[in-house]
Subunit: 150 residues, 2 copies
Amino acid sequence: MSQEPRGVELGTSLGYLLKEASSALRASMEAVLRPLGMTVTHYSCLELLAQRPGLSNSDLARGTFVSRQSMNVLLLALERDGFVTRPDKAPVGKALPTQLTALGRSRLASASAAVRAVEERMLGALDDASRLEARRILSGFVTSLTSGDT
Amino acid sequence: MSQEPRGVELGTSLGYLLKEASSALRASMEAVLRPLGMTVTHYSCLELLAQRPGLSNSDLARGTFVSRQSMNVLLLALERDGFVTRPDKAPVGKALPTQLTALGRSRLASASAAVRAVEERMLGALDDASRLEARRILSGFVTSLTSGDT
DNA sequence: TGACTCATGTCAACATTCTGACATAGGTTA
DNA sequence: TAACCTATGTCAGAATGTTGACATGAGTCA
């Protein structure tokens, strides 16, 4: 250790703090998902699929913030393990609507509970008003950052 | 597109929103750093080093939320390009204190300005009170999530 | 109809990061 | 002193993710 315990003026950057919080959340999620034999990427995909059945590969990629190529290899694995199913042929266009299987749903259930517990721990003693404020602030970040994107 | 425009109850998860904001920030940073021939990882390392000269490889890894093996390959590249320097032998223990070179400092200057502009755009119309509130909330997230870590 | 644009799925090559492992330096404690 | 324990740097292998590229299906518009 070549430095004093903790940050000085680096902690004044909200961007750094945002990254720090996001990393801490991901680490905590990985910690509770590992005993269940699941990764954060797997969970994110299944959770998204549970809330919005029939999403395509590209939809899922956007929703989990990865490239559609990465999502494709993930879906192949999930398909091989029997967690999701995709039709052989696209009903319309090229998009293949993905569906959770019963096995996928049951595996997701325990993982979802674990993740929800982590999120609740993250929110800690934040009252409802503060949670609303947090949502307002974070939503503002996203819209401000993505406003210029065509 | 196999779904309606935007989220429904998925947007109620502060964890998802946190990840979304962090991803948007990283994408915006990549966009402004690419013209400068720099990646987010490079910038993070240099910025950390500018604010805390003499950090070791492991220190930098912790500060940028990557493994020390990854940081090592990054430092080798930065060293090769003449942005940082490390002594051949450790002055104490095994930790090698890293220093920015003049070239590294000058390259960092423009990148730092660009990133600061992105952060300011993210904060948008947030007044000082809201920024304080944001810092309070995000700091709370980090401490709540990492409280159980020995 | 035909040309154009856009989104999608998929292939290949590359880059990045991580995990596992090992030896070493320093501190702690019996 | 000697036996731990922790932290560090580094090597090797594997997993994961990305970019670039291509063909296909659907909609748009002259």
